[in-house]
Every structure is written in structure tokens, then in C-alpha cells.
């Protein structure tokens, strides 16, 4: 047993449902007790979805415990088949059904005899995989099922599209800014003259999946979902894939160069460099913005980064390479992808944290006192408590992370958005100086935050007045350092002299 207050990833069935509900005309049936269909609420509230979420539950109640599901699951599948006429029904196990150990596979087989829809049992184990891993697996499972139907021979001859084309794999519902990212990717591929063969699962019908191998290559924008599918397609159909996330200018360029290499192996001689140069310097504002004098104030500022592997790694790189910001440490809760994560950022980031314990993250943030945090909604709240600004860069997310306006994180417009997000998260340049010179907007005494109350050392009147003049966002830090200095020197009271002495000793 584990004492848990907060989780970065959801249970496995959420991942399966995210994939199922992203496809067009696919219905998921959860084998679950009453109340486990909370996914429908999230879909309807966070995504503001206008359609009924295609997820129903085959309810596990006392009768099921006593006598088994019997025909209940099968009846629910065939009923849904008649009511909604889906192409595919995915039966989704939950934590409850996985310990009941009912033969769901048998139900699925029997139901498939009497329904027009294909019926699949999601192959995910609640106790072994999390939401993201389950999404990755379910997507692979669906793709495999439909391709194996058509391409029965090991080396089936595949007709590739005439023009270069790509499959975009992995964007799905409830993903962090996924909808906007997809639009941006479509735009980029169009400008590069690469056709989009299929986008899966988002909005695609399973009947189109047999077209997948016709693309020249596969593109996986997010590591968390789609990599397994891409690897499978690579093994079975010899399709190259690309898993560089085009987030930030540098990584977008890398991504495009990689695409160029792939296309070259297909005897297509193209040069993306002029495009990259033009986009980086003329279309995107991010490169010039980082060079502009205003951003000089960001140089040497300290940030920490935490999130899923894709977003945290990409953000750490942007902060370090593109903005000159020190990444004190970076981390991810995707422990299954820890090796990759470490490899990506270890040459510029000394400390790497792999954990799903938010208490640990909270105390690490408190210890390192960064100027800004880039993390999930949880880190935003940690930041609020510690009075440190935070930009949200990764799931888990709230409704405000499903903005109405166009806010991609990928590609060139994504770079603009990210630059804004980073810049706005720090205290603005000139304001920063003025606050320091004039002692802040609010140099009247005010209720001290919790952190300040704890110490035992007395501040005399002058010193505490001086302390109150220090801008709020660094006041805690100064107070703590001064007290440390006083303790080390056995002062029981802090005077103005002590403060200045502490400042000198700290800066030396």
C-alpha cells in the first residue's frame, strides 16, 4: 500500500478510453462498477465536447460478484452495436474487473459473433501500466488488429503514395494542447509539400487504417503515445519513424532535418534548410525575441522543469539552449521512459529527478528556490504556496489548459507561444530592477506567509522594516539566508548590520 494524495498519471483504463474515444465511430464498454465512468465527465467538461462520449459501462454490481457477469457484458456489447452501429467496440477492463478474473476474452469472442462491429478486448493490466502506457498499447493493438486483417502475408506488397506522405501517430483526446499541435503540424507538412496520409487516432475511422503502410514514414510527436505503433509498423512494414518532438526552434529544425534524411533515402532530393532558416528568423519571433535586450534579464535565471517525458525534456532544452536560463534540475514522472529522458538532458542538466511523488517534488522546489517553475498543474499549486511563478507545460491539466484560442506547443507558432509563456512566467525585466531599487510596490508591513513565521531568531525593528522593503518574491530567500548567517555567527538578534553583513558574506 502506498499513501497517495495526488497522482500524475491516471489508471490504465483512462489511456484506453482516450484512444478509443479519439477514433471516429469507436465505442468503448468498460467492465466497471457504478461511478467509474468519470471519463465521460472529463471529456465533456475539459474538452467541452458537444457529442455524447462514446463510452458506456457494463456495470459490475453485487449480482456480478455473486454469479459472474454471465451474459451481461455480451448483451451490453450487442445492444450498443444496434443502438450506435459503431465500427469497433473496445471492451475495457478496470481495476475491479482485473481482480474478478472473468474471462472477458471469451465474452468478446462470443459478442463478435452477434454484432456487426468488430470487438476487441483492450490488453492492459491495471496493476502494471499507467494511463500513458495503456494508451500506447491500445493504439498499437487496434492498428495491429486492422492491419493483420488485410496484410496476411509477411511481406505484402504495399503501394506507397506517389508524393511523399506521413502518418501522424498519437495525438488523442485530453492530451495537452493536442488539438492545436495537430493544426500546426498539418500546416508545416503542407508547407514542406508532404501529404498527410493518416492522423491516428484523432478523428480517423478504423476502416481507413489499412492505408497506414502507404505513407513514406511515421511521425510520433509525443513519446508517451504512439511509439509502440511506430515500432510495430517499422518491424512489419519497414516504415521509418521519427520521434523528435518539434518543440522549440532547435528541436523543430532537428526534426525537419531528420525528415529530410528519411526522404533522401527514398531518392527524394530536397533541401529544407532555406525553409528552416526562413521560418526561424522571419516567421517565428522566438529567435529574435531571445536575442532582444529585454531577454538579457533572463540570462542566468534559475528554473526547474517537471512533466511528462516529451514536454519536460523539450522545455529543459528550450530554456537552456534558446533562452540562456539555468535549469537547476529537470524531471519526469514517466519512469518507464527514464533512460531516454536522462540521455536527452544529462549533458546540460546535472540533477535529474524521476519520481511520481509530488511531495518529493514540492520539497525539492522549496529547497532549490528557482525563479520560475515549468511543470504540471500540481507544480503550479506548489509554486503558489511558495510564491514562485509557474508556467504549465504538461499534463495533468485543468480546464484552463484547454484554451479556446490557438495555442500550439509544437512548430514555429508553438515557439512563439512558448517564448511568451517563459517570459511571462518570470518577473518582467525592468519591473524587476525598479522593484529592487525602490523596495517593491508594497512596502507596507503585511501578514507574513507561513514560511516566514517558523524561525526562532528575533529581527529588530529596523531590520524587519528593511526586510519588508525587499520585493516579496525574494523576501523569503533573503530572510532565510540572513538567519542562516546569524545562526552561524551566534547572533540572537538581527540588526541592519547583520543583514548587510549577511549579504556581503553571501555574495563573496
Amino acid at each position: 500500500m502506498k499513501l497517495a494524495y495526488w497522482m500524475y498519471t491516471g489508471p490504465a483504463h483512462i489511456g484506453t478510453l482516450r484512444i478509443a474515444s479519439s477514433f471516429k465511430n469507436v465505442h468503448a464498454i468498460m467492465h466497471a462498477p457504478l461511478g467509474d465512468d468519470y471519463f465521460n465527465v472529463m471529456q465533456s467538461m475539459l474538452e467541452r465536447e458537444q457529442n455524447f462520449t462514446p463510452v458506456t459501462a457494463s456495470i459490475v454490481d453485487r449480482h456480478v460478484l455473486a454469479q459472474g457477469s454471465k451474459d451481461k457484458v455480451i448483451n451490453n456489447i450487442t445492444r450498443k452495436d444496434k443502438e450506435e452501429n459503431p465500427d469497433l467496440v473496445i471492451v475495457t477492463p478496470t481495476c475491479t474487473s482485473s481482480i474478478l478474473q472473468e474471462d472477458l476474452a471469451n465474452f468478446v469472442t462470443r459478442a463478435s459473433y452477434s454484432s456487426n462491429a468488430d470487438v476487441l478486448l483492450a490488453d492492459v493490466n491495471h496493476y502494471r501500466v499507467n494511463e500513458l502506457q495503456a494508451a500506447d498499447r491500445t493504439l498499437e493493438q487496434v492498428i495491429k488488429f486492422y492491419l493483420e486483417k488485410v496484410y496476411t502475408e509477411p511481406n505484402s506488397h504495399i503501394k506507397k503514395t506517389k508524393k511523399p506522405s506521413v502518418n501522424i501517430i498519437g495525438g488523442c483526446t485530453l492530451g495537452f494542447h493536442n488539438q492545436h499541435d495537430l493544426i500546426e503540424l498539418k500546416k508545416i507538412f503542407k508547407e514542406l509539400n508532404i501529404n498527410i496520409n493518416l492522423i491516428i487516432p484523432e478523428g480517423t475511422s478504423v476502416n481507413e487504417l489499412q492505408k497506414l503502410p502507404e505513407a513514406w514514414f511515421n511521425f510520433v510527436p509525443y513519446r508517451e503515445t504512439g511509439l509502440r505503433t511506430a515500432r510495430y509498423l517499422n518491424n512489419q512494414f519497414n516504415m521509418p519513424y521519427l520521434d523528435i518532438t518539434p518543440m522549440g526552434l532547435q528541436q523543430t529544425a532537428q526534426c525537419l532535418r531528420q525528415i529530410q534524411e528519411i526522404l533522401k533515402t527514398n531518392q527524394l532530393d530536397i533541401d529544407f534548410e532555406p525553409y528552416i532558416k526562413h521560418q526561424t528568423h522571419s516567421i517565428s519571433q522566438a529567435a529574435w525575441f531571445a536575442r532582444s535586450v529585454d531577454c538579457q534579464n533572463l540570462i542566468g535565471k534559475k528554473a526547474i522543469v517537471f512533466g511528462d517525458a516529451t514536454h519536460a525534456a523539450a522545455f529543459a532544452k528550450i530554456l537552456h539552449y534558446e533562452m540562456g536560463i539555468e535549469v537547476a534540475w529537470a524531471g519526469t514522472y514517466c519512469s518507464h521512459d527514464a533512460e531516454w529522458f536522462k540521455k536527452e538532458i544529462s549533458h546540460f542538466c546535472k540533477d535529474i529527478v524521476i519520481t511520481d511523488d509530488y511531495n518529493l517534488i514540492a520539497s525539492l522546489i522549496a529547497q532549490s528556490e528557482p525563479d520560475a517553475i515549468f511543470g504540471t498543474q500540481m507544480e503550479r499549486h506548489i509554486g503558489k504556496r511558495l510564491n514562485i511563478p509557474c508556467g504549465v507545460i504538461s499534463s495533468p491539466v485543468h480546464i484552463q489548459n484547454f484554451p479556446l484560442s490557438y495555442k500550439p506547443f509544437l512548430g514555429y507558432e508553438g515557439s512563439n507561444q512558448i517564448a511568451d509563456l517563459i517570459y511571462n512566467s518570470f518577473t518582467l525585466g525592468m519591473e524587476d530592477h525598479l522593484l529592487e531599487i525602490f523596495g517593491g510596490h508594497d512596502n507596507f508591513p503585511q501578514a507574513e506567509p507561513e514560511l516566514l513565521k517558523s524561525s526562532s531568531i528575533i529581527w529588530n525593528k529596523n531590520a524587519s522594516e528593511e526586510l519588508n522593503k525587499i520585493p516579496r518574491f525574494i523576501r523569503n530567500k533573503i530572510k532565510r539566508k540572513t538567519e542562516e548567517f546569524a545562526k552561524a555567527n551566534n547572533f540572537s538578534e538581527i540588526t541592519l548590520e547583520t543583514m548587510y553583513a549577511a549579504k556581503e558574506s553571501n555574495s563573496s
Binding site: 497522482m7 465527465v41 481482480i99
Partner: protein, 420 residues
Amino acid sequence: MLQAKELNFECETGNYHTFCPISCVSWLYQKIEDSFFLVIGTKTCGYFLQNAMGVMIFSEPRYAMAELEEGDISAQLNDYQELKRLCLEIKKDRNPSVIFWIGTCTTEIIKMDLEGIAPKLETEINIPIVVARANGLDYAFTQGEDTVLAALAQRCPKPKASELESPPLIIFGSLPESTCNQLTLELEHQGIKVSGWLPSQKYTQLPDIPEGAYVVGVNPFLSRTATTLMRRRKAKLISAPFPIGPDGTRAWIEKICSIYNIEPKNLMEREQKIWDSLSSELEIVRGKSVFFMGDNLLEISIARFLASCGMHVYEVGIPYMDKRYQSAELKLLQETCLKQNTNLPRIVEKPDNYNQINRIYDLKPDLVITGMAHANPLEARNINTKWSVEFTFAQIHGFSNALEILKLVTRPLKREMLTY
């Protein structure tokens, strides 16, 4: 038109959307200030609580998951040792006066003997441990509170009934403190002393329940608590409509007065005054139709109030219908509909949401009271909706809160056709 004179009860497939009953920890931990709630379940439970409770999760709540891992399921780990370890950690960090263990679907299926472990651990770590099985196998949403209060009822002190005075009155049901005070005052005006509330604000202040005490519920989902108070504590249940809406509140007070042989004073006037104050909201709802999809068991009482307001109630979906515990409320619903000369609604227990949506398409009600899973899709089809969850969290009890209920109902109806 021929009008049915009796309420019509049906039962469907139980394929409906509701909150898991463990959601009760979110309001009960706030109500019982010295408590800690430990939900013994899986990531699924945790994910639900985390998302359903939104911001509350960040304010260092006094609840947590004991997340079961594979070793717990396959009994490679010892339940007793594991729970002891976690509870000691909670004791050290939070030092609560009581720890509630909330059993879930998983603890049911693996038959974890929470009721057996709790008394042993209680003496070992020296903190009361109250066990409530609030799982989705057996219960819906607000029934979670019922399981917790039923368990809590056993912990109330039991003094000898004093023979001089008339039996004391204990009210059961968790309400915000200000609502408790309002209802207590209403009864005091009639000369009735409320000797305690279950739950109290602190675990250490649970009310005395002597044998023969009178108990009365404030919420329609508390049937297990009522049963426990009657059977285990030998209390006498006052069966009354619930104090929701001015009509319900008057009927509730009247019934309690009648038990104590008190002639209620100024009650009719008090009710009429409230109705008068509602007139502008009443204008909006009068003659409009409403459909309850059903998810929190408040449906009968709110339907009855809305019928009093002159609305037509097409259907009252409800997760579970205890006809005995709600008998007075059902009777008042029937009387109200006959008096208002509107059709008696069909009452659908364990509804089937899919069928309900088809009925909604046919009936085209002016308002559908429903969960969040269906609200946006219905709005997108030009059907006005109100989230049912809000009725659970808003203050809706007593005379002065009648306006709150109506405001929830009229908000979607007030919205003019938007033009662009």
C-alpha cells in the same frame, strides 16, 4: 385529460452516470474538523477524487488514498501491517481524533476484513478507526455519506435515558454549519430543543443518543443511517418530508412538532412570506417542464418543491428509492401534484441514461437536471440543463435557502437566446 392519482414506479437497467460514493469524503472531511479520511482503493478511486474535487486537492486536505498495489491484491503483503504503517504515518503528520477507512470496490472483492482489522489496530495505535464501505458495487454518490453516518451512529455515546424530560431530538445528515444553525433555530422558535447533530463538527463532540431518543433526517439518502439508529440505537425515527423548499421545511417542522405535541406557531405565515419573496423567480418557472435524470437521491424532494412552484415534472430518475424512509416525502409529492393539478411524474429507479435521452428527445422538457457527462451534449442539442451535482453542494435546506434552489433552476432558463 385523465390524470393518474397514484405515483408510478419503474425500474430500469441501472446504466446511468453518477459519482462514486467515495466522493462523500470531500464534504465530510470539511464537516468533521478533526477527522482524517483514508480511502483504501486503487488508482481509479484516486483519479476520480483528484479530478472531481478539483482545487480542494491542493489545499492539503485531510484525506488520502491507501493505494493498493499488486502485492496487496495477491495477498503477498499483510493488510494489517500495511494499514498500520500508513495510519501511524497519518497519526504522526496530522494527529487526527478519528481515522475513517473508506472501503471501495477492490476491498470488497478481495474481501479485505476492514471491520475486523480496525478494532485491533484502534487499540494498538490509540486512535478511533471508523469503517464505512462506500463502494460503487452497492451505492451511488450521496449514499456514501449514508454509509459513513451509519458507522458513526454506533460511536455516539449512550447515556441512560432520563425519565423526567421528554426524549431528546437528534438530527442526522451532514450540512454546512450555518444551515445547521438555521434549522436548529427554526425548531427553537417552536419550543423544541435540538440536543445534537450527527455528524457533529468534531468527532469528539458526537451527540448522546439514549434509547428512545427521537431522530429525524434532513436528507433523503440517509436510509441506512435511519435504520441503524432505529435498530442498533433503539431510537425512534420521525418520518417527515425533508426540509428542502419552504413547503418541505414547514412539513418537516410540523411533523416534529406533532411528535412533541406542540402546536406550531406562525409557521404558515413564515412559509407564505418565503413564497412571496420568491415571486420573481416563480414567474420564470411556472408552467415549465423538468426532467430529472437522477444521480444524487435528492430528486424526489426537489421535484416536489418544483411541483409546488408550478412546474410540470415529467420524470424523476433516482439511483435508489427507499419507499419507507421517503414515505412522507413521496406522499407530499403526490399531494402537491394533485393540488397543483399537474401530472404525477413517473419515478424511475436505476434509470438507463440511453433510454432517458430518447425520452428527453420525445418530451422536449424545458429543463433537464443531469450530471456533467450529459450536460454539454444536451446543451449542444438546444436542451437546457442544470448540473445535478450543484444541488448536492449548494445550501438548499430550510426556509431561507429556498431561493438558492430556485436560482439554480432558473439560471439556465433566464438565459436569453444569444445572438451573434
